[in-house]
Amino acid sequence: MRTKRSRLMLLLTVLAMVLAACGGGDGGGATDSTETTAGDSENTTTTADSGTDTTEAEPTEEPVTIEWWHIQNNDPGLSLWQAVADEFMAEHPNVTIDITVQENEAFKQALQTSLQAGDVPDIFQSWGGGGLREQVDAGLVMDITDAAAGFDSEFNGAAASMMEIDGRMYGVPFDLGIVGVWYNKALFEEAGIDGPPATWDEMLEDVQTLKDAGITPISLAAGDKWPAMFWYGYMALRIAGADVMQQAGIDENFNDPAFVQAGEELQRLIDLEPFQPGYLATPWDGPDGAAAVLANSEAAMMLMGHWAPGTMSANGPDLAADDNLGWFIFPEVEGGAGAATDAFGGGNGFAVGKDAPPEALEFLEYLSSVDVANRVGGEANLLPTTVGSEGSITDPNLVDVISARGEAGYVQLYLDQAYPPEVGAAVNDSIVTLFSGDGVPQDVVDAVNASWE
């Protein structure tokens, strides 16, 4: 008897394992209807809700969970988002906001894995552009154009277009910065340079002047690749102009001669050997990063986004505190079609998952209110995108950045985010090769065109 029973048990165990294995095995399909991990009871309730609830227009008083993935994994951003979520939950007792915080790179991989399994968070970090377009094409995100039009507050135009694909909106922006040159005023003075260069030729002269004075002119994090892309992207925008830049994204090629010219102009800079030693391996962040190089006054300039002062002071002395840090927009290029006020930049937003409950949109309306946007600017060191919140920025350098953003007729999104990931990576890689001295401008065009085929 005993052997028989244990044999039966064994058979059952094996059977259970087979079933479990099958359940996990075909998770690749996008039509997974069962949640495999029910972390808490709320989670399970939501699943049941979205399964049975067919009328999603009206917010219900039934318990609702909003899954929110963001990447503000450090204070002050971390506590700000927590506070915003807590306030909304206090107003709406039936809503639970389930926050998942991840570091940038970890988030990208986790999101991709989750999306492949058809498990889309209700609200998640997005940079717009090509990445968002792929999610739209795969039907993973929700068109919120009509809902956003009904929001109490209004978005900055360039910021809103970041979250738009073919004129439809799939999320809300909360931060938009533009790239510019951060420079060390004391080192400029030491080399005898009066002020920021207004044109590219002046810029090249200043680089030479700095070199002659024994100062490394430029700090560059080519190890992370994208900082090198900033140089090329800005240069292309200055030479090609807004229309050609937009058309390149639509036509999906870099065939316009401006893209070769941009490389040629950059080569004039690269030939001066203006970068710190080992720049090809230098990362952006960290004690050996490009931010630290500028903060330690080991180089005079750096082309970077508005987050630069924060990273610099985290890895070295606070130049801004001594009023030694200045900012200017990328200089005008003589003969270029681009306006001197056009800017190159990017920011952050939240995309809305395809199955998000109506409460998620209500929450995003609250998150986009002038009230919260003022705190995004005032507390979290981001550049808020809700019209009327610009005054929350008080840091003199960031005031320069946000007013330049206001003057920009067109903001070109970072090239590696404007285009699909594969093209973005090809852009970055080929530009780094150019900066290494091994490539020619035509290589960038060829690599990008090939990746777009």
Binding site: R7, L115, E134, P277, D288, P421
Partner: protein
């Protein structure tokens, strides 16, 4: 019930009755293996035939285009070459060095167990920790540069991981630093299995140290060395963590290995079809090397083992 068991059934019947039990006992392991090893490998083969970004359904069938694209890509060919260089350097430098140390530490030396411990210690570290530490040493203005500057009194800057022409050799150095101790211990164990009387007999016959080493130690150490070589080749072909953390495959792809190239295409470009094709290439390559090596080099050592037919 017990009555039937007293008279033993004929052998054939007994065997037939054994099968359900064998199957049942085998099933858990077999199922796990199929689900977590065979099935994913099959999926990778399937994905490798599609142009697929991981989000949309698998519809864009491209046949073997992904494979030809990989072999035409100079970056992938470069990565393949880098793996080859690491394999070659490992066999030519790292293993002989490990053998040298093993022979040395097999002698009656003072403090030899401490030295064994020291040499083996790097192997215990995780590859990521190793990479982070060595990155701090090799980076421009890092510990090595600072040390040389302090010693010479001149400002020194070596582009150990920043110069595309040097970086691969820096990576090889760190790989060797981490793994020579492991091979040393393997060979030391092999050396201790060689009976002392053989060496004594050789000494009585008038053999000098080199003759003893050449004709007794090396042949008898053969099986160990062959296993060491096998592990070193497979490890070099699949080299990933250390490179990824220390250099990210850069600068300008100069330290890419096949595995870092694969991860770059899968998780930076999200081209899962193409990345699967690359993974298939790595798999097939490793498999060919493994089978060929087992067939030609390890066949003697495996004689009598159950993996060899006709045992």
């Amino acid at each position: 019930m017990t009555a039937t068991q007293i008279t033993a059934p004929p052998a054939r019947q007994r065997r037939a009755r054994k099968w359900p039990i064998i199957l049942a006992l085998l099933a858990p392991a077999l199922i796990l293996y199929v689900v977590f090893v065979i099935f994913p490998i099959g999926q990778a083969f399937r994905y490798s035939l599609f142009d697929w970004n991981g989000l949309q359904p698998l519809t864009d069938f491209v046949g073997t285009d992904n494979f030809s694209q990989a072999f035409e890509d100079p970056v992938f060919r470069g990565a393949l070459t880098h793996n080859g260089i690491i394999v070659a350097l490992t066999l030519l430098l790292q293993l002989p060095f490990a053998l040298f140390l093993a022979v040395l530490l097999d002698q009656d030396l003072r403090g030899r167990s401490l030295m064994r411990l020291l040499f083996f210690a790097p192997y215990v570290l995780s590859e990521v920790v190793t990479a982070v530490v060595w990155r701090q040493i090799f980076r421009p203005g890092g510990l090595l540069d600072a040390g040389v500057s302090a010693a010479t009194g001149e400002q020194f800057q070596g582009l150990w991981i920043a110069d595309p022409d040097i970086v691969l050799y820096s990576v090889f150095f760190v790989v060797s630093w981490k793994y020579f101790g492991f091979h040393m211990i393997l060979m030391l164990a092999g050396l201790q299995q060689i009976p002392d009387d053989l060496e004594e007999a050789a000494a009585i016959d008038g053999a000098n140290w080199w003759q003893t080493f050449r004709h007794i130690t090396v042949p008898l150490l053969g099986p160990t060395v062959r296993v060491s070589i096998f592990l070193a080749i497979i490890g070099s072909l699949q080299l990933f963590d250390l490179v990824w953390v220390m250099t990210g495959g850069g600068p300008v792809n100069a330290s890419n290995t096949m595995a870092t190239y694969l991860i770059d295409w899968a998780f930076r470009r999200f081209q899962f079809g193409y990345a699967s094709a690359v993974s298939v290439i790595i798999f097939v390559l490793s498999l060919i090397v493994a089978i060929a090596y087992q067939r030609w080099a390890l066949s003697r050592d495996l004689d009598g083992a159950i993996t060899v037919r006709g045992a």
